[in-house]
């Protein structure tokens, strides 16, 4: 008995030793920066001066009163909501569509998937050219007058970025839904059909419940992905026109490295971290309730 116990302890120590590299790298590369972020957010600091001025929660009260930051938050949240809903529903519907009996399914799937192999700065640049050069050319030769420069006005920049962002990412999440669809046994559909359910009813009462684990993965992934948007803005809008398309990450990057407001930037990062955690916890809670009901 005693020998057995010490054997188990030795095994456990050996297993633990395998985790040392990951624990060290992860702690240094992610956990320490999170703690640093909280610490810096309490100071006014330019990043280089030896003296930091302690502000307490001063940076946070300034954020609440800063019109630009609030505008940035509004844009970030709206962008995340729009993108996660459109891309999630789009990916699910496309997966069902490209899993149906249509011809040339592989070709269709490949075309939808390819955009996610490009860098986001490519997406931003290409769609900027489409909106500013290609579409105006097409509209003109059709003799129509439609405003196509979606990145050029604060009112349409959100729509323009959403189209570009969904174009890039829908394919990736569609692949996950497609994979999950394969694991649903056809018997469920057969049973539903026997009970007289039409295609729409089968979708909502068989497909959606069976895909719940995949839906959770995709929704959480899409929302956090949209909340951290940065790369696409660098080439698409540079946060413009004016300041109309700044996300929190984009604004923080500029506050820190262009304006040297390290303390203020850190406070914004902290607010983003809190936001990300709240969103993830709320979504997981909501979805796990749904799963229990099945």
């Amino acid at each position: 008995m005693n020998k057995n116990l010490s054997y188990q302890r030795r095994m456990r120590l050996q297993y633990a030793s395998l985790m040392v590299p990951a624990l060290v790298l992860f702690t240094v590369g992610l956990i320490v920066p999170i703690i640093m972020c909280f610490y810096f957010s309490l100071f006014s600091w330019d990043g280089f001066a030896a003296e930091k001025v302690f502000l307490g929660l001063g940076n946070y009260t300034q954020i609440v009163h800063d019109e630009y930051v609030m505008g940035t938050w509004k844009f970030t949240i709206l962008f995340a909501v729009m993108n996660s809903i459109i891309a999630d529903v789009g990916a699910l519907l496309l997966a069902v569509l490209l899993d149906s009996a249509i011809r040339a399914r592989t070709l269709h799937r490949t075309l939808v998937f390819i955009p996610c192999l490009f860098s986001s700065i490519v997406t931003g640049f290409v769609w900027k050219k489409i909106y500013s050069v290609v579409l105006p050319g097409i509209v003109e030769s059709l003799g129509l007058k439609i405003y196509t420069q979606l990145f050029g006005s604060p009112n349409t920049v959100m729509a323009g970025l959403t189209i570009a962002n969904c174009w890039q990412w829908i394919g990736l999440w569609m692949m996950i839904y497609l994979a999950a669809l394969q694991s649903i046994s056809p018997e469920y559909y057969e049973a539903a059909r026997v009970d007289g359910a039409n295609a729409v009813q089968r979708f909502f009462h068989v497909t959606v419940p069976m895909l719940m684990p995949a839906i959770i993965t995709c929704t959480v992934g899409l929302t956090t992905g949209a909340l951290k948007t940065y790369d696409i803005l660098v080439t698409a809008t540079e946060g413009g026109p004016g300041r109309s398309s700044n996300t929190i990450v984009y604004y923080t990057f500029n506050a820190a490295f262009k304006l040297k407001q390290y303390g203020y930037g850190s406070a914004m990062s902290v607010s983003l971290i809190i936001m990300l955690l709240i969103v993830a916890v709320v979504q997981l809670k909501l979805f796990s309730k749904k799963e229990v009901q099945l």
Binding site: M19, G29, G137, S141, V249, Y262, S269, L277
Partner: protein
């Protein structure tokens, strides 16, 4: 997992309707790709004078040669291959041993570790660019190849460990127990028994991480200033930021930069899809 092949459903009028919708969708997704390829072969004069949808007058590869020379893509490609290759191999290995330890070690410490690593999925490195830069600067790791690789590894761990622990649940423990009935240690078990079983999920991890490391702009831009250490994506960005009307070269550069990733995807497509099924769906 495998199910009997169902008889092919009949092609009805409603299928035809779906086919039309699929065609429209495919056109939307293909349109920007067509624009990239089409413009990559045009001259500056054609860009300015001709209709944006017109075909290039002749297919020559001048833009590609230009992009290669202007951006010194030889160096940039070598750098990108090093960053991607080294960090992805390290990620795949470290994530696999960690996930295996989490799955097999049975105590509170391992359950806690699983949640601890999940923090990295919820809080992405993008939100932490500022403290990461300061920390790396303090350690002398900014503008260094080693520093960027370390950053890619530490930010890639969470997703990898998440994917691998999900896969571990499908690996039966019996084989390991049988192999080590006479009490060989954990390291021998891992290398002689477990590692060969895990080739497939490791391949999945290698592909997904290669995509994100190769295409990363933000972290590379944050860390690397030297022209001799920059990645393909950073080099390409210099063509995007200029306001010149010669974006044909930029389009050619886009094709060049995406080629390795597209080749990798085509080569390992089956493996990738299989891994996504197991890792992401059975979570």
């Amino acid at each position: 997992m495998k199910k009997a092949k169902a008889p092919k459903p009949k092609y009805t009028w409603s299928t035809f309707g779906l086919q039309l919708i699929a065609l429209v969708v495919a056109l939307f997704f293909a349109f920007p790709l067509v624009i990239i390829v089409n413009n990559a072969f045009k001259t500056t004069r054609e860009l300015a004078m001709n209709h944006p949808l017109s075909m290039p007058e002749q297919f020559n590869f001048n833009n590609f040669a230009n992009a290669w020379k202007k951006l010194e893509l030889g160096t940039a490609f070598a750098n990108s291959f090093i960053y991607t290759g080294v960090s992805v191999v390290i990620i795949a290995f470290v994530c696999t041993i960690t996930a295996w330890a989490i799955a097999r070690g049975q105590s509170r410490f391992f359950r806690f570790s699983r949640v601890y690593f999940l923090i990295g999925i919820l809080i992405p490195a993008q939100a932490l660019c500022l403290p990461i830069y300061l920390l790396w600067n303090r350690m002398g790791l900014t503008n260094s190849k080693l520093g960027l690789i370390a950053l890619y590894v530490s930010t890639g761990l969470s997703f990898g460990i998440f994917l691998q622990t999900n896969f571990m649940k499908t690996v039966p423990i019996d084989i390991e127990e049988a192999a080590c009935i006479d009490g060989c240690n954990v390291y021998q078990t891992f290398f002689s028994v477990v590692l060969p079983l895990l080739k497939a999920p490791m391949a999945t991890l290698i592909i997904t991480q290669s995509f994100s490391v190769w295409n990363d702009y933000m972290l590379a831009n944050l860390m690397i200033q030297s022209k001799f250490k920059r990645t393909v994506i950073i080099a390409m960005k210099t063509l995007f930021s200029t306001t010149t009307s010669d974006y044909a070269t930029a389009m050619a550069a886009i094709i060049l930069s995406a080629t390795p990733i597209i080749v990798l995807f085509v080569a390992l497509q089956k493996q990738f899809i299989k891994g996504m099924t197991i890792g992401a769906v059975k979570g």
